[in-house]
Symmetry: C2
Subunit: 597 residues, 2 copies
């Protein structure tokens, strides 16, 4: 007998794709609704609530409350919750949302730093069947207003410190829209409640804790009917000028959470310090991931060198993460802010390729640094530079060089590859042929919200096209060379801005650097460096150009050096599009046929 | 806008449930086939090969070959493969199977101990779209013949040492069936090929390595069309008299593999010693799980004390597993077979509740023991007694007592509960109310093959009913009391055979013990103990009964003690049904109205 070739009773292997049945705990005997894909079926089987449940990270919280109920879930200054309490608060939140009219599929926005409320919203909003849209805390009112319009958020939760910017955003929205989101203020939770009166919000605002109070602890969680139902909406953080709404689904969030726990090497009950913004790719899916292992979330309103070192010592932090900016903050911390680490702290860095000398310095301080890579479209982490024991004995500079590679896809994905964007052919693993980084798997976004054209472009050829350029090494590890729009083409040669930046970063006086194309009449482009010097250090443009020419092919060295603070996204990425605009405005350096190479 | 309430173009969020599309790498624009569940849809999204792939453990092997390509995958004596090689061999195997006529959904059987071939069959058979049915190596020809008939296996792979029993099984089958499975012999791989000629198989048999030779290394893997497609067929090991065919699907296998890696606490590149039979629940799903972390599989044809200790030292084993029998083997190993451990070795035990004194002895030897619980129907491991740091400071006896609890469901399941089998109400967490252990989640079997009635019974009420009885402690951890058929009801009181056995195990002269019900005219049942003494030790029935009466309520102490070797399944479970038959044959102990309590 062939297990797929016979069609038996319709009761058999019938299709359950809604968890409604899971909730009713009934056996399912579909008598008619057997779909074409399932016609070839097997005798003796069926799906029911006993053996099929749509994947959702909601399950992680329910399990954490069962297994780790009395353990600490969230710490924020003097505030502390247990996993049992966190579940209860999230259920109340979901209940309150439905009382305020939130239906399945509605968008609920949030604007807050890494405080307990935003952690809870990540579970509570999906438990109401709704979609959480976390907004970047650095956005101005105009941007917030446009994102509220695009997302059609029905409610917005706002940290008390961001109330003014949020109110202005709603005011702006009111000029073009009649449907305004209901605003809920999140007061400071780490202070006695009597002082809340000092805060700048009036009694007509809904307030977070009061909202929770109306929620019922026995509310029946609205689980996803299908695991592909949307769970969060993440607007890309703006290294390009047009933010897009990336939709995640429950299945992808579940799988990426597990994968992220694996790639952080998190055992049971880790202590995770929140230096990654929770609003960014849902904290790399670790908001849900920490619940998988019953860990403790250490929340910080503001990332500071002192805050990082103090938290590590006080809470015995085991894991943390962040863009290279966070690493920069740590290695450049004032001596008075530093504390000796109680044990090795694992740090995952990502967002942009870390520079080798920062990796080396982190190791000297006692951090174990791993390097991951991904995009908002891949639920945050997508690849990791999995470390091999045989690399331990290499000299530090070589170790750092290997570690700055993006590595290979994690267990939640099916594949990452470097392909020719036109022919879709995989490039050879020769460590030099450049192609586009492409992903395939269940932890790739559902698509861009209300932008089918952009979704189609992103998925054309059946892969997610990241727009990043890279190479493949002989061992299959990928290494980013640039974003396609960041590549500098000078005299027909491709220049990787990352390679030039890497040399700039090794200059003793340079704190930060970014290289973009400056248009050129003769060369097409020339490299233009934006540089921020370390405090108390000096270097001239000429010195820096010479430093680069001594270490790079001459055509790759910057022709222009501008000294200034680099514009950043909150997640620590340099806003290269802004620098590109500046460089463009400068006009051509070389006029006519001059050749100074 | 509500993300679920609008219906847009049919291109949107269209349904992909087959990986066929993943293979063609094409965008999918279903123009008509939007199913009812998906009508309420969201603008801008769709499923395609970029963001949807049916879950399957096949992906783990492909990824292991990419990330850990040059690392050792499988070791068996002098035989060693890398992950790259293992992938190549499995692809060849899949290709060869299709050349021999294996189609999607066909069953391929295997009868072998823990040798590399059976590891490879776990990937190679699913890669041909087929279903692997591993058979218990302790079965006799009659049993094998009946399982071959029931499974309708098209091929059977047989280890050379089991060739005679397999041939007799096929002969038996030939008396009633005309469709006989094609037999492939697996020769000893850990010897020079010239000596293969000594083995007892003729040239008309297919031979494993020759079969691989005809396989093509560029064969296109037949991935599951739906992640609910069957991947393996596991006949329950026979603690009850009627084996049932438990079907696993790709989705469940994927999820349970990840969960099992979590509950073993396996970091990257573990070294796993195969003391759990690979034929048993697909090695607790660790055959696939070890590939997740790029670990090394140490294969042992035969589990012996010396083999275990030697392997640990030679290969730096980090993890292993086994029924309490394996733990027994270790703690009772002769001094000459023991070796000091190079580091702590994590051992997962399961299959039946381990006795506290064995747990204590394992710890003394330097093993870290964790306790898991599950059934064939839950893909092996379903719960784990997650250890909490605050228990570290308890006295050893109390630690061991806690550790013998079955704990809470792992991350791949949705729930385990103790419920009243009639009312389906959850029992209170009072540590004493007995109910039935029930499971719910994606890692519960698809059903019993060709036995819809049994499937319906097992899933009645929307939960998988394990047939095991247990209690729930205040912290939610469950503890098994007995299988429902093993419970002894004496004078109206329930007696847990496990509790009586626990006392027997603490007797210094007793090596193994099992307690079953002996029918009784007066009491209904009385407890009857089957006991095997340690070598060189003595104890009379009277002494043992007194020992129990001193430590238990009198009605719980055995009334009968029989000295003999206990019949076992290969997985180390005592075959209680056989002992129950014996006890029944003895007849009533108490005649008339005697009351000796």
């Amino acid at each position: 007998m062939n297990l797929l070739s016979k069609t038996f009773s319709c009761r058999i292997r019938s299709v359950l794709r809604t968890s409604y049945f899971a909730q009713t705990s009934q056996l399912l005997h579909f008598s008619k609704k057997v779909e074409s894909d399932f016609e070839k079926s097997t005798e003796g089987l069926f799906r029911c609530s006993a053996n099929y449940v749509p994947l959702s990270p909601i399950s992680f919280l329910e399990r954490a409350a069962r297994v780790y109920g009395e353990r600490t879930s969230v710490v924020y200054g003097g505030v502390r919750f247990t996993w049992r309490k966190t579940l209860e608060r999230c259920v109340r939140l979901a209940s309150a949302l439905t009382q305020k009219g939130i239906s399945r599929g509605d968008v609920v926005a949030a604007l807050a730093p890494n405080i307990p409320a935003i952690y809870e919203l990540h579970f509570g909003v999906p438990m109401a069947g709704a979609v959480l849209c976390t907004l970047n805390t650095r956005h101005d009112s105009a941007m917030l207003s446009s994102l509220l319009r695009h997302s059609e958020a029905k409610m917005i939760f706002v940290d008390y410190q961001l109330l003014e910017v949020a109110r202005r955003a709603v005011d702006l929205l009111s000029k073009t829209s009649q449907k305004l989101p209901l605003l809920v203020v999140i007061p400071e939770s780490d202070i006695p409640s009597t002082t809340v009166g000092n805060m700048n919000f009036t009694s007509d605002n809904l307030e977070y804790e009061s909202l929770l109070d109306i929620g019922k602890p026995d509310f029946e969680i609205r689980r996803p009917k299908d695991e592909w139902d949307p769970i969060t909406l993440n607007y890309t953080s703006g290294t390009s000028s047009r933010p897009k709404g990336v939709l995640y689904n429950h299945r992808g969030a579940y799988l990426n959470s597990l994968a992220t726990v694996f790639l952080h090497g998190m055992g049971p009950m880790p202590v995770y310090l929140w230096t990654v913004p929770m609003f960014h790719c849902n904290g790399w899916c670790l908001i849900w991931g920490v619940a998988v292992q019953g860990g403790t979330n250490i929340c910080l309103r503001k990332v500071s060198p002192k805050g990082i070192f103090d938290s590590i010592v006080l809470h015995k932090v085991t894991h943390m993460g962040g863009a290279p900016t966070v690493l920069n903050t740590i290695v450049n911390a004032a001596a008075s802010d530093r504390r000796p680490l109680p044990h090795k702290v694992e740090v995952m860095t990502g967002g942009s390729p870390p520079h080798p000398h920062i990796l080396s310095k982190m190791e000297e301080l006692g951090f174990g640094v791993s390097h991951l890579y991904g995009l908002t479209e891949t639920y945050g982490p997508g690849t990791v530079c999995t470390w091999k024991p045989e690399w331990d004995s290499l000299p530090p500079s070589q170790r750092a060089k290997i570690k700055s590679r993006q590595g290979i896809y994690h267990v939640g994905l099916e594949e990452v590859d470097i392909r020719d964007p036109i022919t879709m052919k995989s490039v050879p693993p020769d460590g030099k042929t450049i192609g586009e980084v492409m992903f395939r798997g269940n932890t790739v976004m559902s698509g861009y919200f209300k932008d089918l054209k952009a979704t189609e472009e992103a998925f054309s050829g059946g892969w997610f096209r990241s727009g990043d350029l890279g190479i493949k090494h002989a061992d299959g590890y990928i290494e980013l060379k640039d974003r396609s729009k960041d590549i500098i083409i000078s005299g027909g040669e491709n220049i990787s801005s990352i390679e030039v930046e890497s040399v700039l970063f090794s200059h003793p006086a340079i704190l930060e650097a970014a290289v973009v194309a400056r248009p050129d009449d003769h060369w097409g482009d020339t490299p233009c460096a934006f540089v921020k010097l370390k405090e108390g250090k000096n270097a001239s443009a000429e010195e820096i150009i010479k430093f680069c020419r001594d270490r790079l092919p001459h055509y790759m060295a910057p022709r222009t050096v501008i000294f200034e603070d680099l514009p950043k996204t909150y997640t620590g990425k340099t806003q290269k599009f802004a620098l590109r605009e500046k460089a463009k405005a400068m006009g051509s350096l070389t006029k006519g046929n001059a050749n100074k190479n």
